[in-house]
Amino acid sequence: MEWETVIGLEIHTQLATKSKIFSAAATAYGAEPNTQACAVDLGLPGVLPVLNEEAVNMAIKFGLGIEAEIAPVSVFARKNYFYPDLPKGYQISQMDLPIVGKGHVDIEVDGTTKRINVTRAHLEEDAGKSLHEDFHGLTGIDLNRAGTPLLEIVSEPDMRSPKEAIAYARSIHNLVKWLGISDGNMEEGSFRCDVNVSVRPKGQAEFGTRREIKNLNSFRFMQQAIDFEVDWQIEQIESGRQIQQATVLFNPNTGETRAMRSKEEANDYRYFPDPDLLPVLIDEALKAKIKADLPELPTAKKQRFINQYQLDNDAATILTSSRFLADYYENVVTESGCEAKLSANWIVGDLLGALNKAGLEISQSPIEASRLAGLLKRIADNTISGKIAKQIFDTLWESAQTADEVIDAQGLRQITDTGAIAAIIDEIIAANQKQVEQYRGGNEKVFGFFVGQVMKAMQGKANPAEVNKLLKDKLQ
């Protein structure tokens, strides 16, 4: 039987506010345990939450970024459950009236664009952390993270393959960083995905029973976890067993998923509106103000790159995969004098290749946009050949010099003086009579030998077009 996979995602992204969502304590990552938890975060008797306006603005930004409805009235609710790292015994979240309503993102998989619908996105506070190691059978509680603002983004079950799920997750990841509302740091837990997976016979209208893989913090793990889960579910059904709704955890060491708790043990969270907080009212004026400050979004920018710079779809997709990269690209284009395609080729090919090899992000690139532009400018004005340029690129990577400084210091300026080139060609022809005869006898492949010899003699600095032209003349 042919099976179809159905996937929906719940993504928790930490918002990049300076202070927590309901208190003034700092949100910075990595501090000594419990040094960034104030009376409110500790849930001391008598304390009250006060909503951080910045978190609301960031949620609105996200909503506008996925063309979603922004709720004019949204309400915080208490989600009740006991856990040692949940200080109040309830989490302040949103239930019936989330701040962001229906929206969508368009993803591209294997050259096809697909719209993934977002059901909702809501604000909530993060819990603290339970530390099970180093306490000799006891558990330590670190409440630094308690109260960190989260935006939980819930998708429709619109994805039909792990590829689509990852493309969607990457697209949301790109967007939250693009908008500056999250650092998106997955290792530090700033971007965590819960993946709902089910399978059904192809053509069946009803969904199968889903299992939820909790807390995936890398795209690679997401791929592995979904692959394993899909195979497991199909195997279960094919051997006559039924899938039970459950929450599962992925173990990166074994590559397997394992049930954490079944539906029967699920909590009744007893949500009700938090009486300590007023409804959040968002008017058109605030929405308009935030919209006006919104940067050009990835999809729009990609389309513009294609139209304005005549880039192909692949290059435009790559160059808009992060806002930093897109800005880098446009800076190079501007500073190099509108060499749009050349810039794209160099960035997508050489620069990203080198960065990837070195394990660096574009934001950590040793070559700044202005220095790369300086190099490309010299290719465009024929000062250097493409081949010499690659050599200079390596020097730029390792030093702080500009392309012009390298060209001058190493005497790499291209020779376009036809007299000088002609003189060398004459010498080469004289010294290689055998090959001359072969060429004249009709073996055109030998032409490449002559080009190579001339270039070698001129240390690669000869203008290739001139060399070709003169050689052809003289060999006839």
């Binding site: 009376a39 200080p87 509680i141 009744d268 300590d276």
Partner: protein
């Protein structure tokens, strides 16, 4: 010294008749002398004398705020830095608050001297002060009767002259009912008028702190210090605070008083009804007009209140889990054992009852039938009041269906106890301000008159109360043995 009101004490302190230290000593002595009343959980003698010393210095420099050197006390629900804040519970018997409630902070800034922390029903859940981990409070008018609750310690302390004025909190009548039963003046302000920051939550959408004092003039002085917007409390309201002293002397000619027929039905004790009618007649003599009104939704107030308050408390009290502060059971075997025994051993029966009721009301499948329905009733009750205040300026009625009942008389029957708040609860659901003033005696026990005002109309309530107190001396009576 202990017979004087705040206004009189402020004058005496400035005239150097006695110092704040002397005054504080006098009160501390009385607190010791009458400790059997059990009105205080903690007496902060040392801190009080330090504060009194500072107050005397400030007074000698002149220009000190009016409450400088005035000995007050705080209900033990307000967090006080470095001082045990128990909320009347075994759960917080070991809790030393690491911060000050906004109300406490405001009294400190006003120069008041805190004598200690006052007894109360556990987590403010009770109408007799009998649910307190620290035991019942005796009513100074008859030590075999309750002082009311939940601010029973507060009311008894003022009635017995163990503090000139105190704070209370009122979720369903917890300021007004003990004030009535102990013959003092107590004001529950509009919801949002006084900051709840640092005031330990029972039912967040209903809780409101307010003053309890000898008379309306003193209550006005206290409210002046307590009221105002607090950025730390999202539900506090950013509205200007009027000068409550200024309007005390306004004439009551033409004042429109509404009397809900539901308040004066056959259920009301006829002796109390007679006492209240006399008080209302006094108001008519002062130029007020009386009008009967109808508030049909009032009868649903008690069930709606117990759903909403219990639901909120079931979440508010989840933080007491034995993990970070408060009571922790001995030798927990695992997490579930830690939770169940810590909470099981440290919460009293009434608190457990309300947590259970609230948890039930919020459970899947019951939420719509209980919580949502109760919220609808709440809205209808507010609408009743809205209609009423389009016709009248204030509403008057009883505070409590009876005078102080015997200690132990109702504690075994929760429903009977809940009915003690039948006249006060609707006001909390609507979020309105209301006060209780002494209006006479039945069988030598005080009777309170409740005056309800429109939102943020505290100045008028205090004015209406003060004018009555210019004509009557019920509020000046002192219980025998406490003169």
């Amino acid at each position: 010294m202990h017979t004087k009101t705040i206004t009189e004490l402020a004058k005496s302190l400035r005239a150097k008749e006695f110092s704040s230290v002397e005054l504080t000593h006098a009160y501390l002595d009385r607190i010791k002398q009458y400790s059997e009343l059990n009105s205080f959980i903690t007496v902060t003698e040392e801190q009080a004398l330090t504060a009194a010393n500072a107050a005397d210095k400030a007074l000698s420099l002149g220009n000190a705020p009016l409450l400088t050197g005035i000995p007050i006390a705080q209900k033990d629900i307000f967090c006080t830095y470095g001082v045990k804040t128990s909320c009347g519970s075994k759960m917080l018997d070991n809790f030393i608050a690491p911060y000050n409630a906004t109300v406490v902070e405001k009294f400190n800034q006003a120069g008041a001297v805190m004598l200690g922390k006052l007894n109360m029903d556990e987590f403010a859940m009770g109408s007799s002060n009998e649910t307190s981990f620290y035991g019942a409070v005796q009513n100074p008018w008859d030590i075999n009767t309750v002082a009311g609750g939940s601010s029973g310690g507060s009311a008894a302390a003022v009635a017995a002259r163990l503090a000139v004025a105190v704070t209370g909190t009122d979720t369903g009548g917890s300021i007004r009912q003990p004030a009535a039963l102990c013959g003092i003046t107590g004001l529950k302000p509009t919801y949002g008028r006084v900051s709840r920051y640092g005031m330990i939550a029972y039912a967040s959408s209903l809780d409101q702190g307010g003053p309890m004092a000898r008379n309306a003039e003193d209550a006005a002085l206290l409210l002046q210090a307590m009221a105002g917007f607090d950025p730390k409390d999202s539900t506090s309201v950013d509205a200007p605070v009027p000068d409550y002293q200024e309007s005390l002397t306004n004439s009551l000619a033409g004042l429109k008083i509404g009397l809900p027929k539901q308040f004066f039905s056959a259920d009301l004790n006829p002796e109390i009804a007679k006492t209240l009618q006399a008080a209302i007649a006094e108001y008519q003599r002062l130029g007020a007009e009386v009008k009967e009104i109808s508030m049909p939704m009032l009868e649903y107030a008690i069930p709606a209140y117990y759903v909403i308050a219990s639901a909120e408390c079931s979440a508010n009290l989840s933080r007491y889990d034995g993990v970070r502060f408060g009571y922790r059971c001995d030798n927990p075997q695992d997490l579930t054992d830690l939770y169940t025994r810590s909470r099981g051993e440290a919460f009293g029966a009434e608190v457990k009852r309300r947590i259970l009721m609230g948890t039930y009301a919020l459970s899947a499948g019951y939420y719509d039938a209980y919580y949502l329905k109760a919220q609808k009733v709440r809205k209808l009750i507010s609408d009743d009041f809205k209609r009423a205040f389009s016709e009248v300026d204030v509403i008057m009625g009883p505070v409590s269906p009876s005078t102080a009942f015997g200690i132990g008389e109702k504690i075994a029957d929760p429903i009977e106890m809940y009915l003690a708040d039948i006249y006060t609860i609707a006001i909390n659901l609507a979020g309105l301000p209301a006060l209780s003033i002494p209006a006479g005696f039945v069988n030598a026990m005080p009777v309170g008159l409740q005056i309800i005002g429109n939102y943020f109309d505290e100045a008028r309530l205090l004015n209406v109360a003060h004018q009555y107190q210019q004509e009557t001396d019920w509020h000046k009576q002192t219980p025998k043995g406490f003169e």
